[in-house]
């Protein structure tokens, strides 16, 4: 397994690329020189043990963290000078691993804010937000997609955990990014709800303009969605390639799945 993946051979500029991305906290290197290219129309699953640096890697790409070294390129353009907000507006969207919402606003307002941010209407002080019909319609449409329509008027803090996870995904969709990053979207979601989310991600992936990155510990989910898997371990990128091969590789079997642990999954 080489660090350059099959997808790269297309020759075109990759949708997203990280070069030598590194971040250090005190003496601890959480992400260590990770270089990787992500191509449009594909879904790359990122797996690795807890604390491997997956979320941190996402944070570096989406701008929540500043890299100690290395760079992130979107369509070949260096993003180093942009913060989280700038990167979102340029099309890098992400859903968080630990639920991160506006707890005292309604479900609909949460989405509406995302739609509004996407449309860049934030500095308008003269019109009424409640009159932005198309924003609200769009928000409602997305809520239907994730089957949260019935809870549209509820305050987010009163939602059960699983529904909050769905809202997290819905907000990402509302941002209409070109790069979608999901951080364990199905964690805490009940089994019957999981297929809804998987269908959604599948739909996103099937648009050739989109690029999807997915962190997930459930191997069944990874198998059903991923075109490619990369493995992070102790901050290093240790494997990259076709799902079947990667999963079969000894390092994944040992360090990640645990010997014989796959029976539990």
């Amino acid at each position: 397994m080489t660090l350059s993946s099959a997808a790269e051979t297309a020759g075109a500029v990759p949708a997203l690329e990280t070069r030598d991305l590194t971040v250090r906290f005190g003496g601890h290197v959480a992400v260590n020189g990770v270089g990787c290219r992500f191509t449009r129309g594909t879904l790359t699953a990122i797996v690795g043990p807890n604390g491997a640096g997956k979320t941190t890697y996402f944070n570096l790409i989406s701008g929540q963290l500043r890299a100690t070294a290395g760079s992130v390129l979107l369509d070949g353009h260096d993003l180093s000078s942009h913060g989280a907000a700038g990167r979102t507006r340029r099309g890098i969207g992400r859903a968080f691993q630990l639920t991160n919402l506006f707890p005292n606003l309604t479900v609909r307002e949460n989405i509406r804010l995302a739609v509004q941010a996407r449309r860049g209407r934030g500095f308008d002080i003269f019109s009424m937000a409640a009159h932005g019909r198309h924003l609200i319609q769009r928000a409602d449409a997305i809520l239907e997609q994730v089957r949260l329509g019935v809870r549209a008027d509820d305050v987010v803090a009163t939602l059960p955990h699983g529904d909050q996870r769905k809202l997290e995904v819905a907000i990402l969709i509302a941002l209409e990014p070109r790069i979608f990053m999901f951080d364990e979207p199905t964690a805490g979601m009940s089994v019957d709800e999981v297929p809804v989310i998987l269908d959604l991600i599948h739909g996103i992936k099937s648009d050739p303009a989109n690029t999807v990155l997915l962190v997930e510990h459930k191997m069944d989910v990874v198998h059903s969605l991923a075109d490619r898997i990369i493995v992070l371990h102790n901050g290093y990128l240790v494997a990259d390639g076709d799902p079947k091969e990667v999963v079969a590789s000894p390092i994944v079997q040992e360090a990640y799945l645990g010997m014989g642990a796959s029976t539990h999954v």
Binding site: F102, L105, L113, R118, F123, I125, M128, A129, I171
Partner: protein
């Protein structure tokens, strides 16, 4: 139409709606319904404070920024016209110039403070504003050759706003139509317009982003909103509004000074008004202002009467002596935070 004027922000409570209408009518007809200098002064003060407190609520209730520098901007506006009127004489030109200068300085100051310090943790920001505000207070009293120092400055306003100016010679409805009336309606109409403007702001897309930032700034940033920029913009906006309130206050009082515009006591009054009324709703600001202003102006009289009625009973008269009105204000303070955590408006809307 009405919905458009109030930006779709309905009171959402019958009682609240009724109270607001009564307040509006009361202020509109104050010179006729409540004759006397004191009541007119109270009415004008209420108008000014509504602008000041509502603008503070945009910062505090909607954006979640605790600033102690709001009175500083109020002062800058007031000193702006005061200095201009002193230097250029009582003309409308001077009023205009002073207003523009005051607003501009306020916006600039807010922008600098915001960009420098809105990144730090909220509580530190409050403390920085506290420090800046007390520094400004010191400055105002030190630069006595411009500001009149501790003593403040009295100045003359355009003749149209003084009692000497007579609209009609005779009294109509028992009211002299003189410049004070003109001044009152100038204050009233300006305040109303500014209030409706603020109502629009908080219900605009911009206002919604501010609320999102208050709820979860990290997430708001991740949605693509540059939080520091929004916070700074909000600070600048409310600074300008506070400065305008300062201008109105100065024109009405024909006096300005550190105690009247800059003191920490006013800052606390504003805070209290916002909270009693209900944070995060501009109608709350109105209610808070009216209740507290009435208390400040009339509680003392009321207590004086009660105290003399109870003369002879030990301790009690001492506790409700007119000079102890602050005690009861303090108790009101505590009780209102205690029992109306969402403010009066929140309580009214609960039902």
């Amino acid at each position: 139409m009405l919905n458009w004027i109030i930006s779709g922000d309905r009171p959402r409570s019958r009682i609240l709606a009724a109270v607001l209408i009564i307040i509006l009518l009361g202020l509109l007809l104050a010179p006729f319904v409540f004759p006397g200098t004191r009541s007119l002064a109270v009415a004008a003060r209420i108008c000014v404070l509504i602008v000041l407190v509502a603008s503070y609520d945009i910062l505090l209730g909607y954006t979640g920024i605790v600033s102690f520098a709001h009175t500083m901007f109020f002062g800058i506006g007031a000193y702006g016209v005061a200095i201009a009127l002193n230097a250029l004489g009582p003309s409308w030109g001077a009023v205009g110039l002073g207003t523009v200068a005051g607003v501009a300085v306020s916006i600039a100051a807010a922008a600098v403070i915001g960009l420098l310090s809105l990144r730090v943790r909220a509580i530190f920001f409050s403390m920085i504003t506290l420090a800046v505000a007390s520094f400004f207070l010191i400055l105002a009293s030190q630069l006595s050759f411009i500001t009149g120092g501790e003593d403040g400055m009295s100045f003359r306003v355009p003749r149209m706003l003084t009692p000497a100016f007579k609209l009609f010679e005779d009294e109509i409805f028992g009211q002299r139509f003189n410049g004070r009336l003109v001044a009152y309606y100038l204050v009233f109409i300006s305040s109303l317009v500014l209030f409706l403007f603020m109502l629009r702001v908080v219900n605009s897309p911009f206002g919604r982003v501010l609320q999102a930032i208050r709820e979860n700034d990290f997430r708001a940033e991740a949605l693509g909103n540059r939080v520091v920029l929004y916070r700074t913009a909000a600070s600048c906006l409310v600074a300008a509004l506070a400065a305008l309130a300062g201008v109105l206050n100065a024109l009405w009082l024909r006096y300005t000074g550190p105690d009247a515009t800059l003191s920490f006591a006013i800052m606390l009054d504003i805070l209290l008004m916002v909270v009693i009324g209900g944070m995060g709703t501009l109608y709350g600001a109105v209610i808070g202002v009216v209740i507290l202003s009435l208390a400040q102006f009339y509680l003392q009289d009321l207590m004086g009467a009660a105290s003399s009625a109870l003369a002879g009973i030990p301790v009690l008269p001492e506790l409700i002596a007119a000079d102890r009105w602050m005690l009861w204000l303090g108790i009101l303070f505590v009780l209102s935070v205690y029992f109306f955590p969402t403010g009066i408006v929140g309580k009214l809307r609960e039902r």
